[in-house]
């Protein structure tokens, strides 16, 4: 892969790491606060559905994870299994799409 694309992947991973740091912190604090007295699934859904702000927040969370995780796996696959080249990158592109697709499906199910 070209030097430019490799550099772009590095920037993407750094940038999404920053996004994920915020998203994970907000997610954990919110979850801990929200369920401190106990909540049923029905109660959770009644609060989340129709909330555009949270929809956008978790959509961003999913996109960041779908970009960040495959790039990290790319290095891990090279180092641990010596798997490099187009076949690895194609597999990881498919994995990224699956991760993003399944994540967005979950987000839309909870918030829309």
């Amino acid at each position: 892969m070209s030097a430019r694309v490799e550099t772009l992947l590095w920037i993407a991973q750094r940038a999404t790491a920053g996004v994920l740091a915020v998203c994970v912190a907000v997610h954990l604090v919110t979850m801990t606060y929200a369920i401190r007295g106990g909540l049923s699934a029905e109660e959770i859904l009644s609060r989340t559905r129709g909330s555009t702000g949270w929809l956008v927040f978790y959509a961003l969370f999913v996109v960041a994870a779908a970009v960040h995780v495959p790039i990290g796996l790319r290095a891990a696959l090279a180092e641990w299994f010596g798997w490099r080249g187009r076949s690895r990158d194609a597999a990881l592109a498919a994995f990224a799409l699956a991760l993003g697709g399944l994540g967005m499906r979950a987000v839309l199910g909870v918030f829309s």
Binding site: A3, E6, W10, A75, E79
Partner: protein, 237 residues
């Protein structure tokens, strides 16, 4: 006088440790120990050294599991209960005994565009570089590398990805990226970017921890990551 129990690697990649007893002396270095074995106990022992004063970078070996420059490593510092194990450097092919094949290590300096290329001729004046300029200070921080390959032998990424350029070659590239007289900047940044270049570094800092002349290749590699990012964002050719 006390004796030192020394295990020395013999053979090539397939070999075994051989035990020697060496007299313990004051201010004895690991290189002194190896030289004593070669001169007094077994003249067939192969090892490499030249200056004996930490300048040439040729005597690095693995001492009790850690890569070190043996001419400046005192036995007192590394011996455990009067025992020392001496092996060739890791991550390099073993030629024989304590001698490794350094070709790949130095070929990677060339692949990282570690050669200076200027545009000035003998008719041009001297380049005027301010000693306190940012670029000059960055180059200064990495320029004293002695090419001993201790960093390379201590790098876990080199171990995992054999074509990874490694800390020394990338450190060299960083000093040249900061050389205002050099004209190969874009070519060099292209050469060091990627998953066998600076972006493969995990910042584990094994190189920086082990560098005998206290350089910080990790910082140089981080500099290359930043600089390649700027280069890509600006769309430079």
């Amino acid at each position: 006088m006390n004796s030192l129990h020394v295990s020395v690697w013999r053979g090539g990649a397939q070999g075994a440790f051989q035990a020697f007893e060496v007299p313990r002396r004051a201010s004895q270095t690991v290189l002194d120990v190896v030289s004593y074995i070669q001169r007094s106990l077994d003249p067939t022992l192969a090892y490499r050294f030249a200056c004996r004063v930490g300048m040439c970078g040729s005597c690095a070996m693995t001492v009790n599991g850690t890569a070190r420059w043996t001419c400046r490593t005192h036995v007192d510092k590394v011996a455990k209960e009067d025992r020392i194990e001496i092996a060739p450097l890791r991550n390099l092919p073993v030629i024989r005994d304590l001698v490794t094949d350094m070709r790949e290590f130095f070929d990677k300096w060339a692949r990282a565009k570690g050669q200076f290329r200027g545009a000035a001729t003998r008719h041009d004046g001297f380049a005027r570089i301010r000693p306190d300029s940012t670029e000059r200070r960055r180059a200064d921080a990495g320029i004293e590398c002695i090419g001993c390959a201790v960093c390379y032998a201590s790098c876990e990424v080199v171990q995992r990805i054999p074509d990874y350029l490694g800390p020394a070659a990338l450190n060299r590239a960083w000093t040249l990226v900061n050389d205002a007289r050099d004209v190969m900047r874009a070519e060099r940044l292209r050469a060091v970017a990627g998953d066998a270049g600076c972006h493969a570094c995990h910042t584990q800092m094994g190189c920086t921890e082990r560098c005998p002349v206290k350089l910080a290749p990790t910082a140089s590699i981080a500099g290359l990551k930043r600089e390649t990012a700027r280069w890509m964002m600006r769309g430079e050719r």
